[in-house]
Symmetry: none
Subunit: 295 residues, 2 copies
């Protein structure tokens, strides 16, 4: 007799503990009374502890039985809860999506995604991390991230990219700079200025694009500073250490003494793309992506 306790035993036990009557309990469980009797007896043998006192037409719980009753109630409850949660997670209505993003995605796409998620799938948790393009790609490959927001044209195999937001570029100038929206005509008006750009390894695509903008304007920019933080770049511009070209949406969210001139006429766009692992099976990620398609 080397049996194991099973959940069946608990369910049967609870019925008897509640009814304190084998026949009635058996009826409630839709099984026969002898079956119930043997199962309870077996249970007592397995646990090596008497749970019920059968005494002259009366069934009652021993102290150990009282204790077990409370525990079984808890365990069965917990189990039900777990099953429900499991189902939700399996369907993507619950769970966690780990999101990485470039600082410049925080002005627009990411907040919208978070708002949408909160509204449609309130039980989906998100963790956010500001990371460079490269760091995001590595994290996604290593399964430390589910979704990334990058400015890259190509990604390693095994990953997929999809553009989610196209932004124009803007010239960033100190407030006191003679150029403004009125008298600005062409990019070559700033050909002789110093330029402050995001570093190449932070975003190679951005860097190349800015160089191509200048090239189209007929000059090669003199790059005096590089940084990985928009804040830093704006601060440098504010202090007249140079001018910058950045994605237009970056102008929101900072309080700086700088002015923006949107470069509408040029063909280049700052493309923000989402990246994910092709075989990522996180169902919450699917919901996330569905939502992004609609934005």
């Amino acid at each position: 007799m080397n049996y194991q306790i099973e959940l069946r035993h608990f369910i049967y036990f609870l019925a008897v503990a509640e009814e304190l009557h084998y026949r009635k309990a058996a009826e409630k469980l839709f099984i026969s009374q002898p079956g119930l009797s043997t199962q309870i007896k077996q249970m007592e043998e397995i646990l090596d502890t008497q749970l019920f006192i059968r005494d002259k037409k009366k069934v009652s719980l021993t102290p150990a039985g009282e204790f077990l009753k409370k525990e079984v109630e808890f365990i069965l409850n917990h189990l039900e809860q777990t099953k429900k949660q499991l189902k939700l997670i399996g369907e993507g209505h619950m769970g966690e999506v780990r999101i990485g993003f470039l600082g410049s995605a925080m002005q627009n796409v990411v907040p919208n995604l978070l708002l949408g998620l909160k509204e449609r799938y309130p039980k989906v948790h998100t963790t956010l991390e500001e990371l460079s393009n490269r760091a995001q790609i590595n994290a996604i490959l290593a399964d430390r991230l589910d979704l990334g927001f990058v400015r890259l044209s190509r990604v390693p195999i095994g990953l997929e990219v999809k553009p989610v937001f196209e932004d124009t570029f803007s010239l960033v100038l100190p407030e006191e700079h003679p150029l403004d929206k009125g008298n600005f005509k062409n990019i070559n008006q700033v050909a002789n200025e110093d330029f402050i750009l995001f570093s190449q390894d932070y975003s190679p695509t951005y860097y190349d694009t800015v160089l191509s903008i200048c090239e189209d304007g007929g000059f090669a920019p003199n790059v005096s500073h590089k940084s990985v933080h928009a804040q830093t770049i704006f601060k440098l511009v504010e202090n007249k250490l140079g001018i910058a070209i950045v994605p237009t949406t970056l102008q929101y969210g900072f309080q700086m003494k700088v002015k923006f001139i949107e470069l509408r006429k040029i063909k280049q766009r700052a493309v923000l793309s989402m990246v994910w692992k092709t075989d990522n099976r996180n169902p919450a990620l699917q919901k996330c992506m569905d939502l992004l398609m609609k934005l």
Copy 2:
């Protein structure tokens, strides 16, 4: 096919989730591989949720599977404990409290608790285990521990903390060190010494606190060694490899050629707290806590 989940399923699931390999898991369970395969498949059908991804010779967990793994670990642990408690209660004892503690709690709080328990509730059994802060938290969450003694300021949700002992810090110096209780005035007198501290991951709060003590003294300590054992730290100090700052009560219980200078004037205190799971219904734990409130 209207089956019911049974504990057997959980045990099988956990084996596969741990091994991520059907044949190995089956071996560990002493059953055949096909039997395991069908049982897991059946489990996924019952729960109506995919738990594993069988993909090109690799088995891995889905997010739902990851979630279930944690839950199953909890449930099976809880069950084991319940069986033990039940047996004890059936034999007329009151139950068992599983206590974890940091080495530094062994000088004072834990022995007092054990004495009090033995006197007031001689039928309550205790098991003791020396564990790091993190290990205690994990064990309590997984229901492998009822009560922990830690030095942490914050704990995960679902747990409660309560400070039980506040200790000053002491400087630990080699016996031959020129500083002593007489000529010691301020912590910055040891600003240029090497420091030996408990590792960050053993006790992040302790580490931060010691750094803040030095900071208040106007210097950043040069940390030459880190250890998880008081014994080791004292030995290193004895051999003049550096000095240490530790909770004062640690000075009792060791025989070392080191001297202690209590830092009474500084504001920082080493706070020992007890931690337990909010919904722990272990009746023996209740008794334990009542006692601790009085100490």
